[in-house]
């Protein structure tokens, strides 16, 4: 076998291998990240639920997965899960963990809170990011949210009920959407906002789909979440 023929053969095999590896990567990204992230995020939610309930049930200090049991969370270390997000529009059982930080690693584990923005229930803008595709895609259906839809942020102390006000599609440099008063840089906040960001269009990083919500009610955890909040009214759908 001549040297050229042999080199061509090896080159061909290498190219086929590269092609197969790329296909394998696509499969991993589109399928496997969802499978593994969904399982992991559901696990985190279970741990949080258990953890949130622990002091109520046992009447003892809490296990240390989340921050201190205060009326308002103040600061949470990067990467730590501290709340559960429920969006009835996306299903009665929809529940995702909320973690501190928005880097790649954090966002594979749930919804990420922009560090430096307000904490849930506080005056200002509680800004969060989530994947719309891959890694369990917590914000896959962000485009289905309508004005008046409810987003429930469950912390150790309360259920914080946010109501969707409006949405926008912006390029990623529009940082004013996470400003204390969304889209009004420099204004002093008096209300409790929440901003959700996800990629737009799906599978693209060119734009961001942004939803703005305002807190309408804070319910102490001990009172429980009224079941009516978990039903999505047909209005506005």
């Amino acid at each position: 076998m001549s040297l050229v023929r042999r080199a061509t053969g090896v080159l061909g095999e290498l190219m086929i291998t590269a092609g197969v590896l790329i296909l394998l990567f696509v499969g991993w990204q589109l399928w496997w990240t969802d499978v593994s992230a969904n399982a992991a995020q559901a696990g985190t939610v279970r741990v949080l639920e258990h953890d949130f309930d622990a002091p109520l049930v046992a009447g003892r200090p809490v296990t240390p997965i989340t921050a201190e049991p205060r009326a308002h969370l103040t600061e949470v270390p990067l990467g730590r899960a501290f709340a559960i997000v429920r969006v009835p529009r996306w299903g009665k059982d929809y529940a995702r963990p909320m973690l501190e930080g928005t880097d790649h690693d954090v966002l594979t584990k749930g919804v990420g809170h922009y560090p430096g923005t307000a904490m849930p229930g506080a005056v200002g803008n509680f800004a969060v990011a989530g994947h719309r595709t891959t890694y369990g895609r917590p914000f896959h259906d962000i485009g289905t949210l309508r004005t008046g839809d409810v987003i429930i942020v469950e912390t150790r102390s309360s259920y914080l009920v946010y109501s969707v006000q409006r949405h926008g599609i912006v390029t990623p440099d529009h940082v004013e959407v996470v400003a204390p008063v969304p889209q009004h840089v420099g204004q002093q906040p008096t209300q409790k906002w929440m901003t959700l960001t996800a990629c737009h269009p799906e599978f693209s990083a060119s734009h961001r789909y942004v939803v703005f919500a305002k807190m309408v009610r804070a319910i102490p955890r001990s009172e429980g979440l009224p079941a009516s909040y978990l039903h999505v009214s047909a209005k506005g759908a």
Partner: protein
Amino acid sequence: MYGPLWRRLPGSWPLRCLEAGLLLLAVVGVCFLWVFPVVADHLPFNDNTIGGQTGSHPSPPPARPSSSTPQ
């Protein structure tokens, strides 16, 4: 490339098939668990944050109102 590898596998051909399958599975496993997550860190199409700080590095404080684009 694959020819010499096949010839190097010990045993009869059914056994070699099994060995080749196991090798393939090992490669897929290594890719899924270690290689692809690292590669994905460096690809742009999973970004979903404002201010472009999604990445393998910790994010800087996001909303610097002074640096934002006026509307």
